[in-house]
Assembly symmetry: C2
Homo-oligomer: 265 residues x 2
């Protein structure tokens, strides 16, 4: 399980202010911290970027690339911003992401072929509804892979995001468990070693108490690792969460074990 | 996942001294602490009890029963001690446990029928070797259930212990993962909702650093919960471990979720 930093996101006031001022320093400071925590990649969550999506995205990508060579996930629903990001990117990139929503199929998915990039595919209905059980999730996964291949994107380039649900939903626990089962069973169902990604902080969206959030996220991370999750998109600056993720990663690897590998608690 | 305290064990010097002096207070003090942490049951690990197994076991069981009505696991390999414990028990009891070892089949297993008790069955070869993969574990589970039924013990009374391996073994991680898969698949394989038990502290046997041990045990507990473990035999006085177990338990229950259920981190 590789850890991807979700820390660089436009919803943070400091990052919004940096974009307005076109000041790269706050972004770069954050990215340096993520690199120091040995993130595998950085999710660059710019949002749709309003009236000047290309300029905004170029600012983001160029600022980040000045301080790291790590892979970048370009995380926007705006296809103009996505194209600008892919054009500006020198680091390895993943498109984050597409779904069965018609506009995404039409405008985002083809960019994966054009730019020869990996692309995240969300297990969501075309109208962005969340599927209600495992069977529905499997159907959507098959449809996503089919759409990718029809667009000339090899199925191995699609990274499935089963969409971790907030526990605060009425059926949050049931859906969280369905996500685990889907991650575990997808490779058999699809017939190849499909990669998967999960956004950990979604689990505790809306919940207040930080200690409790930590506890639930740590447990769920271990379960995701055991289910075979490829990429955990998470707060890489949360040391408790990172320690739990690394310990879980060790338990799921076919490696010679040494206590030296375990992070200090 | 129900939590069983493994804290009352003869290997602790205080407990050894209490047995020698026939002083119930140290045992009772420990048990009161376990009860306060809401253990589901108490494992009474007396060891073989040397020259006076019956007297020793009666001392243990009577001391414990004076302070709690919780179910007790009688944890000894000595069949004379086991019988004395079952005779002395007023609380609900489980026999912990039997294996395919001839002496256990002959002398321990029949006690489950005679005393109408649940019994833990270890996934071990007759010579106490640990099986090397999932297929071997499934064969042993079938053989254990077969032996129980031949001895007049209903299969539903057998609680399978797949024997959590120490990570310090060369193939510890691989075996730890095999144990998870066995727990998950046993109900389908056996065709009924078989109960399972796992001793968590085995995982970090021999390892020194307490923080690291905690971290690995917490992650593995979450994975065991997700696999469907019925009973976690563990240090109920370790608050980090208990919080992780309760959080993992919440994630695996078909219940309305409330943040109030999550222990504070």
């Amino acid at each position: 399980m590789k850890l991807i930093a979700d820390n660089l996101r436009i919803t943070k006031p400091k990052i919004q202010a940096a974009l307005l001022a076109l000041d790269p320093e706050p972004l770069q400071d954050l990215v340096r911290q993520c690199v120091a925590k040995q993130a595998f990649a950085i999710d660059v969550n710019t949002g749709p970027l309003g009236k000047s999506p290309e300029e905004g995205m170029r600012f983001f990508i160029e600022a980040v690339q000045m301080v790291t060579d790590l892979p970048l996930l370009i995380d926007t629903s705006n296809s103009d911003a996505m194209r600008a990001g892919l054009e500006a990117a020198k680091n390895p990139v993943m498109i984050n992401g597409f779904s069965l929503e018609p506009e995404k199929l039409e405008k985002i998915l083809p960019l994966a072929k054009e730019f020869d990039a990996d692309i995240v595919g969300f297990l969501l209905y075309p109208d962005s509804r969340v599927p209600k059980n495992e069977a529905e999730r499997f159907e959507i996964a098959l449809e996503l892979i089919g759409q990718a291949e029809a667009a000339g994107v090899a199925k191995e380039r699609v990274i499935i995001d089963p969409v971790v649900p907030p526990l605060a939903w009425d059926d949050g626990i049931v859906q969280a468990r369905a996500v685990l089962k889907v991650i575990q069973m997808l490779p058999d169902l699809l017939g190849f070693d499909v990669q998967t990604i999960g956004g950990i902080s979604n689990l505790t969206t809306g919940a207040g108490d930080k200690d409790k959030k930590n506890l639930m996220e740590q447990s769920y991370l271990a379960m995701l690792a055991a289910a075979g999750l490829s990429f955990a998109l998470m707060d890489i600056l949360n040391p408790d969460l990172v320690k739990a993720a690394r310990a879980s990663g060790i338990l799921t690897k076919e490696e010679i074990f040494s206590w030296a590998m375990v992070p200090r608690g």
